[in-house]
Amino acid sequence: MDDVTSLAFLTSVLAAAIPAATAILYACLGELLCERAGILNLGVEGMMLMGALGGFAVTVWTDRAWLGALAALGIGAAFGALHAVLTVPIGANQVVSGLALTLFGAGLSAFLGRDLVGRAAPDSFGRLHVPLLGDLPELGPILFRQNALVYLSYALVPALWFFVYRTRPGLHLRALGENPGTADALGLPVAALRVAYVVAGGALAGLGGAVISLATNPGWTENVTAGRGYIAVALVIFAGWNPLRAAFGAYLFGAVEAGQFRLQGAGVPISSFFLNMLPYLFTVAALVLASRPAARRRIGAPAALGQAYVREERA
C-alpha cells in the first residue's frame, strides 16, 4: 500500500488529474461559448460521445491520431450545427433539442461503435516531455509531461479569456447572450453569430470526447464519457462563464477523479462505490456553492440564456 500522504502520491494524483480534466475542459469551454451566445446546449454529452467514437474510428482507419482529433472536431461541429439549426432559426426549445441530441449521440455511437469495442488504438496522443520545463521538480511531471491535446488546452484557455473580455467579437458575444434585442438593434447578425458559436461549441465538445478515446484511455467502449458532458455544463455555471475559472473548475474535478482512482489503487479501506461517486458529489457541491445568492449576484448567467430570439415577435 502506497503512502497516501507522501509528496510522490500527491504529484502522481495531480499528474493524472490534468489529462482527466482536459476532456471536460474542452467541453466546458465549448459550452461556455455557446451559453455566452445565449444558447443552452445540453447535447454536450452526445457530442462528446460522437467525437470520441469518430476520433477513434478515424484513427483506426488512418493510423493517425491527429486526423482522429480533426474528425472529432468536425463531428462535434456537425452535431452543433444540428442543435443550432433547431434552436436558432427554428426557435425550438433548447432544453429538449439538447437532450434529444444527447440521447441520439449516445445511441448512435453505441450502434456504430459495436465493432470497435476492445480494438487497440494504432496511434494515440502519448506523453510529450517538454525539454527543461518537464525536468522541473514536481511541476514538471504534473504539467509538462502530458499529451499534445493537454498542451493545446493550455493555450486555449487564456486565448478564450482574451477573446471574451478583450476583443470586439468577444464583446459582441457577451452582448448576444445578455440582450440579443440590443445586439440586433445595433446591427449585429444575431442569428448567424449564434449559429457560429453553437457550432464552435459542438466542435470543442467533440474534441473533448477525443481526448478520452485518443489520449487518456485510448480505445472505445459504449458510453465512455460517463456523464462528463453534463459535468461540463455544470462547471460552466460554477465558472461563472469565465474561461479561467472554467479551467480551475475542470482541474479540481480532475483532481477529485484522479484522487479517488489512486485511492482505490492504494487500497484505502473506503468502498470503491463511494469513491466512484466522489466526482459527481463534487459537482453537486460546486453547483450549490456557485448558486449561493451572493455568488449568483456577482457572476450571473447571460440574461437571455435559453431564449430564442425572433425580431418582429410582439409580446
Binding site: 464583446l171 452582448a175 445595433l186 449585429l188 409580446a315
Partner: protein
C-alpha cells in the same frame, strides 16, 4: 439653396405595417428636417413606435417608401439604418447591464480593429458628454447608473456613431422634471448643430415647449403636421383622440368631516433589500387612513417597487413592520395579505397581475377562485365563473371578443381594466396601485382613475405609486416622496406643485446642509452650467 428647398432629412410616404390582423400603420406620411425638433404624438397604439421601428430598420414596412436626405432607401436591418445616419434612443433602454458605458458604446461599431480599445472611447465619451451637457462616467457599469444617466448613455452612443437623425421614444417618461429640462436643453443644442431630432411623446405640454413641428398619429394614420408655435394643447388633444377631452382632471376634494380616520395601513421603520442585494428601503414610515389616498412620488429605482412588494408580501422586509387593519402582516405570504383585504395593481400587469396565456375567465377568478360561489369542493363552478367574468368585463368597460380570449391578446388598457376590476371586486380595505395608468391610452386612463376614486370614496385606503406627477396630484390627498429608500418629504396635494415635488424627487430637502446632489451625480440640468 435655402433651407426649405433642401429635401427633408427624413421622408416617409404611405407606410403600412401589419402584425397579423392588427394594422399598426396604415399609409402613414411623415417628414422631418435637419435643424428641427419634431414631435410625434398620439395615443397608445396609434402606431408611433411602429413607425419609428420602420425608420430604424427593425421592422420592414409592408408598403411605403422611406427617403433620407431625398435619397430613397430600403433598410433590411438596423445596420442599414445606422449606416444611413439614423440613431434611435429606445424607451426601454437597449443597454447591456453587465457591460460598462464604453463597452456598450463600442458594441456594434464596426471597422475598429479586433482588440477593444476602451480607453480611446472613454476619452471621446468624456469630451462628447462635456460638449452636449450629457456627462456620465464611461467606466461605470450600466446597472450602477440611474435611469437618467442610462438615457444619456443611449444618446451618447448614438452621437458617438455620428448619427445625423436622432429618434427618441418617450424620452422624458422616466425622468424628474429637472432632468427632463436638462434633456430638453441638450436636444435643442443638438438641433442647433444641424441634427434632425424626432421624439415620441404623449405629454402635450412638453411637446409644445420643446418641438418646432408636431405630427399627430391616430389609429395608425397621420392626421396632420402642425407648427408647434401655431397650436395649443386643446387642438392637439383633439387631433390625438379625435374628440374633445373631458375637462382637465381636478384635484380631489378632501374627504370632509373625517378628521380622525381609522388607520388602515401603517408602515414603521421598514427596510428591505433590492434585487441586487443593496438596501432599497432604508427606514420608511407611512400611515394611510380609511378613505384616504397617499401618493408615492420618486424617480424610478428609489424604492417604490420594493415598497409595494413588501406591503403586498412579495418581498421580505429585513426590518420594520407592516400593519394592515390592525393586523401585523410583516413578511406574511401574499395570500395572507390578500385575505386581509388588500388589492394589488402591480407595476407589470403581465408579469405579476395577469397570466397572458390564460383566458379572461381564468384571469378574472385568480383572486377569488378558492371560495364559493366560484368553486364547489374541489371543482370549479363553470357557470358561476362565466357569470362572474361577464359582470367583471361589463362593469369595468373591458373591450374583449369574449371571455375565452387569452388575456395577453387584449390591449394594455383593457388588460389593466380587467386587472383593476378583479382586484377591486369585493370592497378591498387597502388598494396598492403601482403605475396604474402606465402605457394605456387616454380613454382607459380616465376609466382607471375613476375606479380608483370610487374606491377612495367608498372608504378604502389607497397607496398610489406613480412617476406621473399629474396623476399623483389628481388622485392623492397627500404625496410622500421617496429618495434612495427614504421618505424625504410629504406634502398635501392641494398645495403641492411640480417644482417642489421635483426638488424632493432629486433629494433636495431644502434644509441647509442636507442638500444632496441628484442620484449618482449631477442632474443633467446642472451639467451644462458646470
Amino acid at each position: 439653396m435655402t433651407r426649405d428647398a433642401a429635401p427633408p432629412a427624413v421622408e416617409m410616404r404611405g407606410i403600412t405595417k401589419r402584425f397579423g390582423e392588427v394594422v399598426a400603420n396604415a399609409g402613414v406620411d411623415f417628414a422631418a428636417r435637419s435643424g428641427e425638433v419634431h414631435a410625434l404624438v398620439g395615443e397608445n397604439g396609434a402606431g408611433k413606435s411602429t413607425l419609428m421601428s420602420v425608420l430604424t430598420g427593425l421592422y420592414r414596412p409592408d408598403t411605403g417608401t422611406v427617403a433620407i436626405d431625398g435619397r430613397p432607401v430600403r433598410f433590411r436591418s438596423p445596420r442599414d439604418a445606422i449606416d444611413a445616419g439614423i440613431g434611435m434612443v429606445h424607451q426601454h433602454f437597449t443597454l447591456v447591464d453587465s457591460l460598462t458605458v464604453a463597452e456598450n458604446v463600442l458594441l456594434g461599431r464596426q471597422g475598429q480593429g479586433f482588440r477593444l480599445d476602451t480607453s480611446t472611447v472613454e476619452r471621446e465619451l468624456d469630451a462628447l458628454g462635456e460638449r452636449h451637457g450629457l456627462r456620465v462616467d464611461p467606466r461605470a457599469r450600466i446597472w450602477q447608473l440611474s435611469v437618467g444617466e442610462q438615457q444619456r448613455v443611449e444618446i451618447l452612443r448614438v452621437l458617438h456613431r455620428g448619427a445625423r437623425i436622432l429618434i427618441l421614444d418617450e424620452p422624458t417618461a422616466v425622468l424628474t422634471p429637472r432632468e427632463a429640462a436638462g434633456l430638453a436643453a441638450a436636444l435643442r443644442g443638438l438641433a442647433d448643430e444641424g441634427l434632425c431630432v424626432v421624439f415620441i411623446s404623449h405629454k402635450l405640454d412638453e411637446v409644445l415647449a420643446l418641438a418646432d413641428q408636431v405630427t399627430v398619429l391616430r389609429r395608425g394614420r397621420s392626421v396632420g403636421t402642425v407648427d408647434a408655435a401655431a397650436t395649443d394643447r386643446r387642438s392637439l388633444a383633439r387631433l390625438m383622440v379625435g374628440r374633445e377631452l373631458l375637462p382637465e382632471d381636478r384635484r380631489l376634494t378632501p374627504t370632509a368631516g373625517t378628521p380622525a380616520r381609522e388607520t388602515v395601513l401603517e408602515v414603521v421603520g421598514l427596510r428591505a433589500e433590492g434585487d441586487r442585494g443593496r438596501p432599497a428601503l432604508d427606514g420608511v414610515d407611512l400611515r394611510v387612513g380609511a378613505g384616504e389616498s397617499l401618493g408615492i412620488a420618486g424617480v424610478a429605482g428609489n424604492g417604490q417597487r420594493e415598497l409595494a412588494e413588501v406591503v403586498t408580501g412579495l418581498r421580505r422586509a429585513t426590518a420594520g413592520r407592516v400593519v394592515i387593519g390592525g393586523q401585523d402582516l410583516t413578511n406574511r405570504s401574499p395570500r395572507a395579505v390578500a385575505a386581509a383585504g388588500v388589492a394589488h395593481i402591480p407595476e407589470d400587469r403581465l408579469a405579476t397581475g395577469l397570466v397572458g396565456g390564460l383566458d379572461l375567465a381564468a384571469n378574472a377568478i385568480l383572486r377569488g377562485y378558492r371560495v364559493r360561489p366560484l368553486t364547489r369542493g374541489p371543482l370549479l363552478a363553470g357557470r358561476a365563473i362565466a357569470r362572474f367574468t361577464d359582470r367583471l368585463l361589463d362593469a369595468n368597460d373591458v373591450q374583449a371578443p369574449g371571455r375565452s380570449t387569452p388575456a395577453g391578446r387584449l390591449s394594455g388598457g383593457n388588460q389593466q381594466k380587467l386587472l383593476l376590476g378583479r382586484e377591486l371586486d369585493g370592497r378591498p380595505r387597502l388598494v396598492v396601485a403601482v403605475h396604474p395608468a402606465r402605457g394605456v391610452d387616454v380613454g382607459a386612463t380616465e376609466t382607471i382613475h375613476r375606479l380608483l376614486r370610487e374606491q377612495r370614496a367608498a372608504g378604502a385606503a389607497t397607496l398610489l405609486i406613480s412617476e406621473d406627477l399629474d396623476e399623483l396630484l389628481a388622485l392623492s390627498d397627500r404625496i410622500a416622496v421617496l429618495f434612495e429608500g427614504r421618505v424625504v418629504g410629504e406634502v398635501e396635494s392641494a398645495t403641492a406643485d411640480h417644482e417642489q415635488l421635483g426638488l424632493l424627487m432629486a433629494g433636495v430637502t431644502g434644509q441647509p446642509g442636507t442638500e444632496r446632489a441628484g442620484f449618482d451625480g449631477v442632474p443633467i440640468g446642472l451639467a451644462a452650467d458646470g
